[in-house]
Symmetry: D3
Subunit: 136 residues, 6 copies
């Protein structure tokens, strides 16, 4: 009786795409307007998927109120209304692409979920662009 539960969350943040492994010219060429120096921003929509066995006593996989609190404490309170490049240590040397943000979020959440659960995150940067980690 393995099942998945999903919880959505949200944060707003500024960022610019800029890789410390690339020259100024390469960053401009590859990232275009996403590389502009004064930042732009997004409403990031996050979907967290937790998979495992349903508890036969409660009928819950995991208490979604508990999951909501973990997401808020570990992810959205930390990233919301922040500049990812300037304010968040994880992105000091890591380009805040949607891919890398999703992987960072997964690493922030993973230690706070019991080992019997599988975890996947989906991150919408815009309505048209989103990423999922890890691959399903």
């Amino acid at each position: 009786m393995r099942i998945s539960v999903f919880r959505k969350a949200h944060f707003n943040a500024a960022h610019r795409l800029n890789s410390s492994l690339l020259s100024v010219q390469e960053n401009e060429r590859i990232f275009g307007k996403c590389n502009r120096p004064n930042y732009h921003g997004h409403n990031y929509d996050l979907e967290v998927k937790v998979s495992g066995e349903v508890d036969p006593v409660t009928g819950y996989l995991i208490d979604l109120g508990v999951l909501k609190d973990i997401i808020a404490e570990q992810v959205t309170d930390y990233l919301d209304h922040r500049n990812l490049n300037l304010d968040i240590p994880e992105f000091r040397d890591l380009n805040p692409t949607a891919e890398n943000i999703a992987i960072v979020i997964w690493k922030l959440l993973r230690p706070h979920l019991d080992e019997r659960f599988d975890l996947q995150v989906r991150l919408y940067e815009t309505e048209r662009n989103y990423v999922e980690f890890p691959v399903s």
Copy 2:
């Protein structure tokens, strides 16, 4: 040429979360406002996923009109505008969490679909909380 087709459906129902395996105090503590005695309710959105081989003559995996009717007859006509705890025998001794509702819906649909098809259901309790059974 294996493919998946999805059909969405909808029903509105009342419920309360209350496990017959827990004491009154435990039910209150675990389920909080979802345990309130006079019920609350939801607009449940259901997505049914059927997977298999496309029929080379029709170009259909399954006639979505037929699938729509199966979902209506087996699930939404049965659950819509009902009190899950009081009106639906499957929940007499089963807590109507989103997880359990999704599993019940899967069991209601499975016998009515040909064995060559795989079946998965996704159930939205709110826009922010949903479940998927079985795990993909």
Copy 3:
């Protein structure tokens, strides 16, 4: 420089449609499955529209954080995870149709907003059915 700001909120509630001014038979005939005795429920989506002059100092019409708190305290904390017919005094003798719920919400909010503001509420009972009060 008159402008409108909108804030969305959400609550889940159980109800049944039943008018104390109609007989049992008339209630059944008019309200059909919405009249079933054991209640059903909805995810109600609420949009609150406040109109007036922008404050030239702050650039706000009204602080949306303040508006959010007023909506929570006066409306959603009061109605969420409740049975409208049994738990909410305003519906003791008032049929909880979407129309009447919207009017009740308007009356709950109006005294808590400064007189210089106009107020309108939109209430979604389902994605396909919603009401707006007062008429614009």
Copy 4:
């Protein structure tokens, strides 16, 4: 035969709320996390409403391709992937609240639409917060 046509557009921008008419302490108190110095950002969704008489020859109120181009040239190319506070002269001395951004957008569009048309803009800062100018 007066009718309204609507066209949606989109831009992503960084901003912080900070009024030049308020002290540092007042800005912090009033705008909270929206005042943080390193900016945050949004996916702004814009709906432009143009009203007037349908042209009996074409059946168009206005060619939506033309309207789309006006919105792109005057608004979204100008604001997209920008820092509203630092990059956009209109916000040098104007706090970039949703209210003020909507008014600025209305003023950018108005001269480019024929006088026989009425114009209204709706701006979503998040899915839950939006503004409309002028009042309808």
Copy 5:
């Protein structure tokens, strides 16, 4: 106690934009790919708004089940899975722009609603383009 109720409906149709008052060259120039001879199509989303006084006995403005049936009988059963140019007499000499389709729908519905109600329709041709008749 004037209030508005809204009901959404849906139909899928083929059309091409072509005005009988314009030459072949003008039609091509003005309507571009929308003028292609073999038609294209849309999922049209329709929102019907009815305004008036709430009935104090039922708490309804209008029975939404009745309104749903009127919309189906007068509009969606008539237009769904049709070619607007070839199959629908109203568009024999009328270009099926979103504007004209909305006006035709309004005229189809108006005689079937009591005179005490005001009527407005909103028609989405795509998620980004929609029209509203009459002007509010």
Copy 6:
């Protein structure tokens, strides 16, 4: 560090369901109003999923601007504002069901993506009906 990125796109097209392997009567019986001779149409929403390893230098799986251009050139410019049955050679002898359109789109895209990437497409014919190829 395998990840998936998704990009949404859109096209509007006319079609009718009609299999060259079936008689006129069988086509009518199986496809009903979808078989009507003058075509109907849809707003098709397409989600393209590309999976693989994140590039450690750029932080991208694939440049979404590049992916957007591939989708436009290979799929949406080709299918948009077209009659699938009459204008698109792939459907000369292939019934343009959602299943077959999804498979055609997958085949159009596959040669333009590096072999190190996995590809899946999801195609929405309406908000309630969609397909995914290949099975995940």
